[in-house]
């Protein structure tokens, strides 16, 4: 007789999801992932709004990813309305996105995932059993937030990023301070890499699905998607390729690629698309379980990238920005940015009054659903014979390898 | 009359010299066009043509939010200690000087406020002539307050006549002597003339609560409190206790409060002694023109015009005041 056990509320992930383990007698025979977050219907909420309201509203899809949502929305709007931004604004936006990357990865690594490796319940347990690791993680995380605050005005839902420009630019002194703080954090980051790479694996080897990521490599931006299967998809075609459809067991749309493959996005995917040579040794086996290592490597890359961006900004100087004038016209825009959890796509259409007529947002966790479900199935196959509790624990850890962001996925 | 004169050309040198006596602050126009009192560093000259700063200099004496007590379980409540390095405020108009005098009466009287006293003692005031604009009413509603400063620069052709009115002012004057010339000048027009006079009459003080004008004005009021924030003599404060996250320590904070806010006269259980906006609005102006408590009978309006300029709704009490005054004279 089949009997379904539910991990009711996934914990230490963003949003609401559950995993159902199907038991046959003592054996777990099947597993289902369910993203049951209540849909807020953002794509409908946005329709009818003026172009300059779109980024402000869209960034509320998710707090952890709010900066990258905002930037993706801005870029799509600007593309639709033919607004070009200055190099300075572009550098600052990327800086904000890298800040978000640092914050999100540090949050995941040190508060959400690390407790699994140390057998504790969360940051409360870390505070008792590994206080210095927690503190180290929080220091790194804080720096990510400082960067987002300096550029976006606020760590969550940055308001200072506007269509065509910014409210107030960070001053040279502020940038210099950030640069100093970034240099100071390098020791922590180096220590973190060594520490995270030394952690023993908790999961069996599970193969990685084909992957895709934005074409820009470490910049996290790009004008298209690159896949590990050798495809090169232009941004304007990406939504078609991602081919989202509705399935009845999840509130997030699911990507249905041709030939029923699933693609994976996220840190591991990005590294596999363009792996810097110096980090190859961190990934002895190509397995999902390496995703934590991928995050810490990416965290280091983000810190380096942020330093570089600040250097460029400081070198460019503080010239006065001309405010852009937006000529309202009919148009469509699509942008692709790498969010901490993977490829994010925003697409909008505007009518001749600049009012949004259609919105399409595709988020990494939604894309990853197929890969996640497959990994879960592989997991129970690999652990056949293990007791229910072990499988249940492993399933949660596996889900965390994808660091799902369910609010994003369902939006 | 023999007077000490400083030419416009020498003003920059004067400022440079003054910096040796302390931090020098004055009105500066920002990139956004807003005039604020802020540090006059060598690259930032004061804007002496500005009629008024957004916030009055009271911000130096009563910070918008400041700790007045700290608490620890061991020591109980303690007064904070504050280092006050000498601060020179340059370019104060007579209304602002009068405003400071009002605050002095409130905070330096019996039982002086220690934070205020210390900050005030570190302060040197340098006044300057000004040209009132349409919003100024220093010449209309006289107040017994005087525009007292350590030094005063009265505008004359080509420069200013400098006078000192305190030992500290005298000392400064000596220190900058070589920048000054002795000149024979017909007594300069001293824009402090509007102050130091007796109150003109009860006109504006007997404000009848039932006048429909109050309701009319209050309908436009947004309750933002800008009028009192920007007022040089509004000094209402609220007191909050902020517990520390150790569960033990605490700080007590006072912050600018505002009689236009709903909570100003609200007590436990929801009872409110000034329930609606009209009552609050009337209360504010009644206080401004009549004073209360130890400063009863002391009109607190120094005519700087900030309340009108800062009010988003553009509310202006002067027409009402003039009408009332007119009515009073007819009686």
């Amino acid at each position: 007789m089949n009997n379904i056990k539910k991990i009711d509320m996934l914990t230490r992930v963003e949003g609401h999801g559950s995993v159902e383990l199907v038991k046959d007698g003592g054996r777990v025979v099947d597993v289902r992932l369910n993203l049951h977050e209540s849909p807020r219907l953002f794509e409908a909420l946005l329709v009818g709004r003026r172009f300059d309201e779109i980024p402000d509203i869209a960034c509320r899809i998710c707090a952890i990813c709010s900066t990258v949502h905002k930037v993706a929305a801005l870029q799509a709007v600007e593309q639709a309305l033919n607004v070009s931004i200055s190099r300075r604004i572009a550098l600052l936006r990327e800086l904000a996105v890298q800040g978000g990357q640092i914050e999100s990865h540090a949050l995941h690594i040190f508060c959400l995932a690390l407790p699994d490796y140390l057998g504790v319940n969360g940051f409360q347990g870390l505070a008792v059993h590994a206080p210095e690791k927690l503190q180290m993680g929080l220091r790194i995380k804080k720096l990510g937030n400082l960067i987002q605050e300096a550029v976006g005005g606020r760590a969550i839902h940055p308001f200072n990023l506007l269509v065509g420009g910014m409210g107030k630019m960070p001053g040279a002194d502020q940038l210099q301070r950030l640069s100093g703080q970034l240099s100071e954090i390098c020791d922590d980051v180096a220590a973190s890499i060594a520490y995270i790479c030394s952690l023993r694996d908790l999961l069996p080897h599970l193969a990685i699905a084909p992957v895709c990521a934005a074409s820009g490599g470490p910049s996290l931006f790009g004008d298209g998607l690159l896949t590990s299967t050798g495809l090169n998809i232009a941004a304007s075609q990406a939504a078609v390729w991602l081919n989202e459809e509705i399935e009845s067991n999840t509130n997030a749309k699911v990507s249905h690629f041709s030939e029923n493959t699933s693609f994976m996005v996220g840190p591991l995917a990005r590294l596999m698309v363009s792996m810097p040579q110096k980090y190859v040794h961190c990934f002895p086996d190509h397995s999902i379980r390496s995703s934590l290592k991928a995050r810490i490597v990416e965290l280091k890359m983000a810190v380096e990238r942020a330093q570089l961006l600040i250097e460029q900004l400081l070198a460019d100087g503080q010239g006065k920005e001309q405010p852009v004038t937006v000529v309202i016209s009919k148009g469509e825009g699509t942008s692709i940015v790498e969010a901490p959890r993977g490829t994010l796509l925003h697409n909008y259409c505007f009518d001749s009054r600049g009012i949004c007529t259609a919105a399409n947002i595709i988020t990494p966790t939604a894309i990853n659903q197929g890969a996640m479900a497959n990994s879960l199935k592989e997991l129970i196959a690999a652990m056949d014979g293990a007791d229910y509790h072990q499988i249940r624990g492993a399933a949660e850890i596996l889900v965390r390898c994808y660091d799902p962001c369910i609010s994003c996925a369902v939006h | 009359m023999a007077a000490r004169f400083i030419s416009h050309d020498n003003l920059e040198l004067l400022l440079e010299r003054l910096r040796m006596y302390g931090n020098l602050h004055g009105p500066v126009r920002g990139d956004d066009g807003v005039v604020r009192f802020t540090a006059l560093s060598p690259g930032t000259p004061p804007d002496l043509s500005a009629v008024r700063s957004l916030l009055p200099p009271k911000k130096y004496l009563l910070h918008p939010r400041e700790t007045i007590l700290t608490y620890t379980a061991d020591a109980g409540y303690q007064l904070p200690s504050e280092e006050n390095s000498p601060l020179i405020l340059f370019g104060l108009h007579p209304c602002d000087l009068a405003g400071i005098q009002y605050l002095d009466r409130l905070f330096l009287g019996d039982d002086p406020d220690l934070l205020y006293t210390a900050r005030r003692a570190a302060l040197t005031l340098i006044g300057i002539s000004c040209t009132p604009d349409d919003f100024c009413s220093c010449h209309r509603f006289a107040t017994p307050l005087e525009a007292v400063s350590d030094l005063f620069l009265a505008s004359v052709d080509g420069g200013y006549v400098v006078t000192s009115s305190s030992p500290r002012g005298y000392e400064l004057l000596k220190g900058v002597q070589e920048l000054l010339e002795e000149r024979e000048i017909e007594s300069p027009e001293d824009s402090r003339r509007f102050f130091g006079q007796a109150v003109s009459g009860p006109a504006f003080s007997e404000l009848d609560a039932t006048l429909p004008e109050w309701q009319e004005l209050a309908n436009h009021c947004l309750g933002c409190g800008a009028c009192s924030l920007c007022c040089p003599t509004c000094a209402c404060f609220d007191v909050l206790e902020c517990g520390g996250l150790d569960g033990d320590s605490a700080v007590r904070v006072r912050r600018w409060d505002n009689c236009l806010f709903k909570s100003h006269a609200q007590v436990a259980g929801g009872m409110n002694f000034r329930k609606d906006r009209a009552e609050r609005f009337r209360y504010r102006y009644r206080h401004k023109y009549r004073g209360f408590g130890p400063l009863r009978g002391f009109p607190a309006c120094v005519g700087c015009g900030r309340c009108r300029v800062a009010c988003p709704a553009g509310l202006d009490l002067r027409p009402l005041a003039e009408r009332l005054e007119g009515a009073h004279h007819e009686q």
Binding site: I57, I156 | G33
Partner: protein, 247 residues
């Protein structure tokens, strides 16, 4: 001292209010001396709703039957229930098209297909349970959140903020974006407490903290009209975080 038992739960929302707490990087470890984060699924495992709570901090609005039940259950078990953030207090972004046919909105996103759960118009917490205190903001300000925790530790609650964003904006000596900058700034009508975050960076207030008590909407509309903003534009903007603004 006995640690206070907290439940921190997100309903329909973006997790920003909970993240705001996790963003208190410096204070977080110290908080553990005063509080037990007993139920905090976003950051702690497992998620078990059991026993009584000294306080429940609830993020987000209510949009499913399950959330309604969970909220009622939390109310029963908690001495204080606090609405954390604008969605919980006012409805927030998710509610911005409340009043329109939800089925039409749903079809715009999901077409004719059915999805796993049925949802209703997002509602603020107070439409379901009694709320003891509120923390406004999208997201809430860290200092208010920490202030709340400090108050809870002493058995008290934060007081209501009764002044608008303009008050703090003027205190910071900003250029007024509405009267002087001709921009559609909602500071006049929006509850303060953020220290005029946005106008201080020359960005108009979008009203993320919801309406200030006794907001003078009629007069504000008059001012917006003077600046050339029509009623519909202003109302739409106002309803971004609180759908019930009406003239």
């Amino acid at each position: 001292m006995k640690k206070l038992r907290l439940a921190i739960i997100g309903l329909t929302a973006c997790s920003g209010c909970q993240l705001s707490l996790l963003n208190c990087e410096e204070e977080l470890p110290g908080l553990l001396d005063l509080f037990e984060f007993h139920l905090f699924p976003m950051a702690c495992s497992p998620a078990l709703l059991e026993g009584e709570y000294d306080a429940a901090l609830v993020e987000g609005c209510v949009s499913t039957p399950h959330e309604r039940e969970l909220l009622l259950e939390l109310r029963k078990r908690s001495q204080y229930l606090i609405a954390l953030g604008t969605c919980a207090v006012w409805g927030g972004v998710a509610a911005l098209r409340n009043g329109e046919d939800r089925e039409v909105l749903r079809q715009q996103v999901y077409g004719q297909s059915r999805i796993a759960c049925e949802t209703a118009e997002p509602q603020p917490l107070r439409s379901v349970v009694r709320v003891d205190a509120v923390i406004n903001g999208c997201p809430p300000e860290k200092n208010e959140l920490l202030g709340l925790l400090a108050d809870l530790a002493r058995g008290t609650l934060p007081a209501e903020i009764d002044y608008p964003v303009c008050t703090e904006c003027r205190m910071r000596e900003n250029l007024c974006l509405l009267t002087e900058g001709d921009k559609l700034c909602l500071g006049l009508l929006t509850s303060g407490g953020c220290k005029a975050r946005c106008p201080s960076m020359a960005v108009p207030c979008e009203g993320c903290r919801g309406p200030v008590p006794e907001a003078n909407l009629a007069e504000a509309m008059e001012l917006y009209a003077q600046k050339g903003f029509d009623r519909i534009t202003v109302l739409e903007r106002l309803c971004r975080f609180y759908p019930e603004w009406k003239l």
